[in-house]
């Protein structure tokens, strides 16, 4: 009797295991069926997205798009905010073919340099200045979102200090910035700056700005890799650190005495409340600021020297931060469907609305009539129209490396654990090691 019991269990076990094995394979065969049977007339495309904050909007966009294109099935996958492994890597590792993938612009020359198809022939190329090219010069990246950084300021505090309306583009030298900080201080604000000098901010964003001294930042990257660019002797590179010294000094910065201790929230609350006037960040800072004080914020360029005619002092760094790339491993039908989706984003009202109004993304396309409600984003949109932007330099570096390898080096400079010459050497040797 007992033996029978055990053997029954064993049989049950093996059945269960076989079932498990079978179950795991089934979806795979399903999806290949869907793509390989043209007689069904439907194409399934998988889209992966990085911006976790707009996951719900992405789902809705897929529904709207499918309603307009009944022969295409769109599966949206959106990675969670702060996820270390990208959703594209996860799906690829489990054997799925992602048709349309969102990635950082830099990825098309580094991590995924062999991933994308050439999109140079697409119609939308004429509607934007921010299409992203790979190393061969082919357009492979569809600019999904534009972002920019600069000095984010609290309008009320600044206007109170100068006693009137404030034009952010009037601060076009370092001395004028210093004068402004002194004025704010005189108006009763103890620390005009609340800049948290976190690794990603001082490194990926702040420390890449010097690349904009060349028309094409890639030329400087190439020289650095060859070991032929002298940072310590470069005026622009030094200029940005002179300005950083000002921004992180004990005199002006709330955290000047001990600059590196996880102050992101505190910095944004301080500027939001008006206890401090400005910090260095991008348009996304508004997410943290609006909770405190509504829409009273602006964005101004970071001055690098005392020449008011230097374009670097008069422009905001802005550019695509997320791009869509079409997988060349996808079937021709899938690639066509993905191209349709991109055109839908650019030309259809529903697509334009999803991008700007629903997702609050700054569009890279001139024909998009909408404006984001984020005041910092609106500044960037205006700057784009007036030609007052320069490349978003973070797109020319490898953000992961700069965050973990060079971030600590810049931070060591801020707390005076190393000299500027040593920082220059650290950056130079990073580049020569990556040749």
């Amino acid at each position: 009797m007992r033996k029978k019991f055990v053997s029954t269990l064993l049989v049950l076990f093996s059945v269960a295991m076989a079932a498990c094995g079978g179950a795991s394979q089934e979806p795979a065969t399903d999806s290949t069926d869907a793509t390989n049977q043209p007689d069904e007339g439907k194409v399934t495309i998988i889209i992966t997205n990085g911006k976790g904050e707009i996951a719900a909007q992405n789902e809705q966009a897929a529904k709207d798009f499918m309603a307009a294109n009944p022969d295409i099935i769109v599966e949206q996958h959106t990675g969670a905010v702060g996820d270390t492994l990208s959703i594209l890597d996860k799906l690829s590792a489990s054997g799925e073919t992602v048709t349309l993938a969102m990635m950082e612009p830099n990825a098309v020359v580094e991590k995924y340099k062999d991933f994308g198809t050439d999109l140079s022939g697409e119609k939308w190329v004429n509607e934007t200045n921010d299409a992203v090219k790979n190393a061969k010069g082919e357009i492979v990246g569809f600019p999904f979102s534009i972002e920019g950084f600069g000095l984010v300021y609290n309008k009320q505090v600044v206007e109170k200090a100068i006693g009137g309306a404030f034009d952010p583009f009037s601060i076009n030298t370092r001395d004028k910035l210093k004068g402004l900080l002194d004025q704010i201080k005189a108006s009763g604000v103890k620390y005009p700056v609340a800049y948290q000098t976190e690794a990603w901010s001082v490194s990926n964003h702040y420390s890449s700005q010097f690349l904009n001294q060349a028309n094409d930042p890639n030329t400087i990257i190439a020289q650095l890799k060859e070991g032929q660019f002298d940072l310590a002797g470069n005026a622009v590179w030094n200029g940005y650190y002179d300005t950083l010294d000002l921004l992180s000094s004990q005199e002006y910065n709330k955290y000047g005495e001990r600059p590196l201790g996880k102050y992101y929230d505190d910095a944004h609350v301080s500027v939001g409340k008006g206890e401090s006037a400005l910090l260095f960040n991008g348009n996304w800072a508004f997410d943290s600021l609006k909770a405190v004080a509504g829409e009273n914020f602006g964005l101004m360029p970071v001055p690098v020297d005392n020449n008011p005619d230097n374009p670097l002092n008069n422009k905001i760094a802005a550019g695509p931060t997320n791009i869509y790339v079409i997988n060349k491993e996808a079937t021709p039908a899938q690639q066509e469907a993905a191209k349709k989706y991109l055109n839908w984003l650019v030309y259809e009202k529903a697509g334009q609305d999803y991008l700007v109004n629903k997702s609050q993304v700054i569009s890279a396309f001139k024909n998009n009539p909408y404006t984001v409600t984020n005041p910092l984003g609106a500044v960037i949109q205006d700057a784009i129209k007036q030609g007052k932007t320069m490349p978003f330099t973070t797109n020319y570096i490898v953000p992961g490396d700069w965050n973990t390898i060079l971030g600590p080096e810049v931070q060591k400079y801020i707390v005076k654990k190393q000299s500027r010459e040593e920082l220059a050497k650290a950056i130079e040797s990073y580049f020569t090691s990556k040749k």
Binding site: V6, Y112, G261, K262, T404, G407
Partner: protein, 294 residues
Amino acid sequence: MIKEKNSMKRFGYQLFFTGPTMITFTIALLIPFAYGFYLTLMKMASPTSPLEFSGIDNYVTAIQDKEFWASMWLTVKYMAGTVLFVNVLGFVLAFLVTSNIRSQNFFRTAYFTPNLIGGLVLGYIWQFVFVQSLPAIGEKWGIDFLRLGWLGDEKLAFWALVIVTIWQSAGYMMIIFIAGLISVPKDIIEASTIDGANGWQRMVKMILPSMVPSFVVTVFLTLKNAFMVYDINFSLTEGGPYGSTTMVSMHVVNKAFLETNYGVGQAEAIVLFIIVASVTGLQVYFSKKMEVEA
């Protein structure tokens, strides 16, 4: 014949009881581990690019990675701090809550509660304490070493990690120690009291030696947790300031996923595994020898 039947039966029972665990263990640990080891022998730019055999290149790079060894050394220091303090504090707490003080059940629950909060949440809570609360107190009462946020200073940030770890795990170790303390036979304590041993002598000569099995477990757990710490490290300091509190697990994750150096990161993970396995293995082997029969 009967014997054979019995052995079949025994095998059946073994499979019945251990089978489910074995299957899960194989799927969740053994297979990924073997595959992970296989990947360290390959060159891979991203999960989508094809694999290329590269021999022990990844291991050579991993061994030569100075930052890896720096974070390992930091982890060893962290381990020394947490293993010592967590066990001492856990034991003291256990001793107090078994010595028949009033409302001891309340204290047991209170000390254990921090362990029920996940490491990430805990890190963010304590980040608030170190960045906002302590400086506010320092400002108000003029205590200079609290006035500035601890997480901005290399040494203080390290101690912040140690303090939070102690706060989190001392209560858990306390539970294990309580079990150990309760099972110390009453008769030998009584006998030693009659023989004239004072409280201290009873503690050192009778209670501690019979508690060795508990210490084997708690030291093992604290050792392992210290080597593998990631969640608190990530949420409290994120390796900062200037990378000075990057523990070895965080270094491995950064290497693999942020710097997209999968092969080297995985090789470093294997090296870490070997070190942790041998350290904890030696610890269990030698401390088992100290166990005494009551």
